[in-house]
Amino acid sequence: MRHAVGALLRKDLRAELRTLESIPAMTLFAVTTFVLFHFGLDRNSLDGDLAGGVLWVTLLFAAVLGQNRLFVAEQEQGGFDGFLLAPVDRTALFVAKAIALFAFLVVVEVVAIPAFAILLLGPDLLDPLPGLIAVLLLADAGIAIVGTLVAGIAIRTRARDLIGPLLTLPLLVPVVLAASEATAPLLAEAGASGPPGRWLAILAIYDLTIGLVAYGVFDFLLED
């Protein structure tokens, strides 16, 4: 299983580096969305709840953008067949793609978070950074799992670009909820405090549960 995941992951990262299809688009989208929020909310700086909410909604939409491209090469260039012909555990495809999506999200955040800090965030970001990173990692895991699962469902339907977001967004409401609640105290104007453990726990439970479910059902999407 590990070999298969490694092979798939290597292939995907190499392809992404060569084509730069997803990551720049996702990043650009995130930064543009921050600009839109500035105009939409008519605010020069955000803090606390509002900052957390804007950040997470933006990251979520950027993720949905990336999710749409996740299986396109497999679908259009016979990648599904090529993989299905190999004597490997089929769930390896799910694991590899989820890790790839997670990696894309992390790279996007490396640019988007500083952009957010510069463009919209009132309070300083340096102190709460470790807490923020913890929230980002946990939430990204949930987003990557759901995004990969939904992309796997959507890629073989007719209206695949539409079905994807429609399924993903409701499924990720708990993640947005928990991540925003966890981020709000980090970005508080009056001085940051650590992320409440309760919300990190919720994120972890969500990730674990949905991860197990996804792991269990993904095979059934691939067989014919």
């Binding site: 070999h3 298969a4 490694g6 092979a7 290597r10 292939k11 190499r14 392809a15 060569r18 084509t19 090469a73 260039q77 016979g78 990648g79 067949d81 090529g82 993989f83 299905l84 012909l85 190999a86 004597p87 490997v88 067989e223 014919d224």
Partner: protein
């Protein structure tokens, strides 16, 4: 023409295999026996079920009815055990266009647990070494097909499933790939063909499909095969 193989040596054994796509029946109660090192050539007009048959044998599709035994294993239950021994060459080359030929082969080698040395050897034998480091999208269809052949035999499969393998290949290339996927390779092969005369030459057994039904089995003349298409 070889006689019906006994159960012990049968590489492929199909009984009453049926597969539909919604309302349309693609394969209808097909029976088949293929022995070791035999070549079965499948004829039939488009939509007759040739590709469906190949895909079922390749474990890519499940039959809706009937039993399928490949290399002594029952499909789809034991598909996992069979995959490593089957080489499939369909209409699609199954290569990622943004990667080079070599990278594609490395990817498949890793999935099949094949050492990298085998790749270099195959590239040599098919005369592809000097083009192996260009992205696939930059290659001509004939070269892509040659890389696809390499991909199909990379793991030294006992059974080859070939859907019009010589399409897009010029005579020179055909000579290069013959030892790998032709009769000379000594592997059991199921090959689809639209050429009654040429196909008959390499066949130990033929199967003529029309609208999913096996209309011709065992042996046939070129005329009988031609009638399938009318």
């Amino acid at each position: 023409m070889s006689s019906r193989p006994s159960r012990a040596t049968a590489v492929i054994e199909l009984r009453g295999v049926t597969r539909s796509y919604g309302e349309r029946v693609a394969l209808d109660q097909v029976d088949l026996d293929v022995g070791a090192a035999e070549t079965l050539v499948v004829f039939g007009p488009n939509g007759a079920g040739k590709s469906t048959l190949l895909r079922i044998l390749a474990t890519l599709l499940r039959p809706h009815a009937g039993t399928v035994r490949v290399l002594g294993r029952e499909l789809p239950r034991d598909g996992y055990a069979v995959r490593g021994q089957v080489g499939f060459l369909g209409h699609e080359p199954l290569l990622y266009r943004e990667l080079t030929g070599r990278e594609n082969l490395r990817f498949h080698a890793r999935l099949h647990g094949v050492p990298n040395g085998r790749i270099a050897e195959l590239l040599e034998r098919t005369g592809l070494t000097h083009r192996a480091d260009e992205p696939v999208h930059a290659l001509s269809r004939g070269l892509v097909q040659r890389f696809a052949v390499c991909r199909a035999v990379l793991h030294d499969p006992a059974l080859l499933l070939l859907d019009e393998p010589r399409a897009n290949l010029d005579p020179g290339s055909i000579d290069l790939v013959e030892p790998l996927i032709g009769r000379a390779s000594g592997r059991t092969r199921v090959v689809t063909s639209h050429d009654p005369v040429g196909g008959l030459e390499e066949a130990d057994q033929v199967l003529g499909l029309r609208a999913g039904r096996a209309e011709i089995t065992g042996t046939a003349t070129a005329d009988e095969l031609g009638a399938l298409y009318r």
